[in-house]
């Protein structure tokens, strides 16, 4: 199967995502420039971390107009699995593929550290191989990860089980101290109503081998591989 990793001017985790898919998991992974107009038959699309267009105006605000985003939207609307990591999550919010917006971290610090993230939902293409009991240790690296949505939107997200990842402490409790940025309800990541579009602030691609301190992020990529093969099986029946 094939991953497409979109490269915006200012993306800087594109190669990490490609490495995780290609070298750690042994899948195909192609970097696709934001001005391209084709995803070249990819089964999974990743919008990587970084600072697309220098974060000018607002994070992700300019990237949403990149030509490739039309294709990403079409792919998502057709049920294709799309993962936005950090800046990629911010792009998905600005593009309207996920609800809500990002504010500056509540304490204004750029947080670059390992956090614990609890996977609450396993019926998304990026979490179906995850455990909901043991929190993942994966790093965050952002200045604007303070997730915000209007009260009725937030209530709908919770009701529809669209909160996929939550910041927790080592024992799995979503405490205020475990929340690095002040995001509402300790939200670290959400999915679309169709559940195929997932965005999260932590960086699973930076935690795919024990040599870098944690391999907890790999399960998201493994989930995507499993989801695509199950989808292929379902359509071939």
């Amino acid at each position: 199967m094939k991953f497409a990793v979109v490269v915006f001017p200012g993306s800087n985790c594109d190669h990490d995502a490609q490495y995780a898919a290609e070298h750690v998991l042994g899948q195909q992974a192609e970097l696709i420039w934001h001005k391209d107009t084709s995803l070249r038959g990819a089964d999974v699309v990743i919008l990587p971390g970084g600072f697309a267009h220098g974060d000018y105006l607002r994070t992700g605000a300019i990237a949403r107009f990149s030509p490739i985003m039309q294709e990403v939207k079409r792919f998502a609307d057709a049920g294709g699995p799309v993962l936005g990591i950090c800046n990629g999550f911010q792009v998905l919010l600005e593009a309207g593929l996920l609800p809500g917006a990002m504010l500056r971290n509540a304490n204004l610090h750029f947080h670059c550290e390992h956090v614990y993230v609890k996977v609450e939902q396993t019926d998304t293409p990026f979490t179906l191989a995850c455990s909901t009991t043991r929190p993942l240790s994966i790093p965050v690296a952002h200045g604007e990860g303070n997730y915000y949505a209007e009260p009725e939107v937030l209530a709908r997200l919770e009701k529809n089980r669209q909160v996929v990842f939550r910041y927790v402490d080592a024992s799995g409790q979503p405490t205020a101290a475990a929340n690095p940025n002040g995001s509402l309800n300790n939200i670290a990541g959400i999915c679309s109503e169709g559940r195929n579009v997932v965005g999260l602030m932590p960086h699973p691609e930076r935690a795919c081998e024990l040599a870098v301190g944690s391999a907890d992020g790999l399960v998201l990529f493994e989930s995507a591989v499993k989801a695509v093969s199950e989808r292929a099986l379902a359509t071939s029946r």
Partner: protein, 87 residues
């Protein structure tokens, strides 16, 4: 014609930058400054027949790009003196 667009966070949205600036002002001794809200300011030079058209274009620009309606609101001013001269 010049349109000025002021983008600010909605009153219900927490503004960590504004709060920090307010704290800095308090440190400088300005206890009378009760609150600071930080925003963005845009000047748009618009080729428009009249100020109504300029305002309409600026509003579209704000709705589509300059402001994020989830967290921000905006206010538009069109330079009246310039608008008169342009006529």
């Amino acid at each position: 014609m010049r349109a000025r667009v002021f983008v600010t966070l909605k009153p219900s949205v927490f503004d960590p930058q504004g709060t920090t600036v307010a704290e800095a002002l308090h440190t400088l001794g300005y206890a009378s400054v009760k609150d600071v809200r930080q925003g963005k300011y845009f000047e748009l030079e618009i080729d428009a027949a009249n100020s109504e058209e300029a305002k309409r274009i600026a509003r579209e620009a704000a709705d589509k790009l300059l402001a994020n309606p989830v967290i921000e609101s905006y206010r538009i001013e069109v330079d009246a003196a310039q608008a008169e001269m342009a006529r």
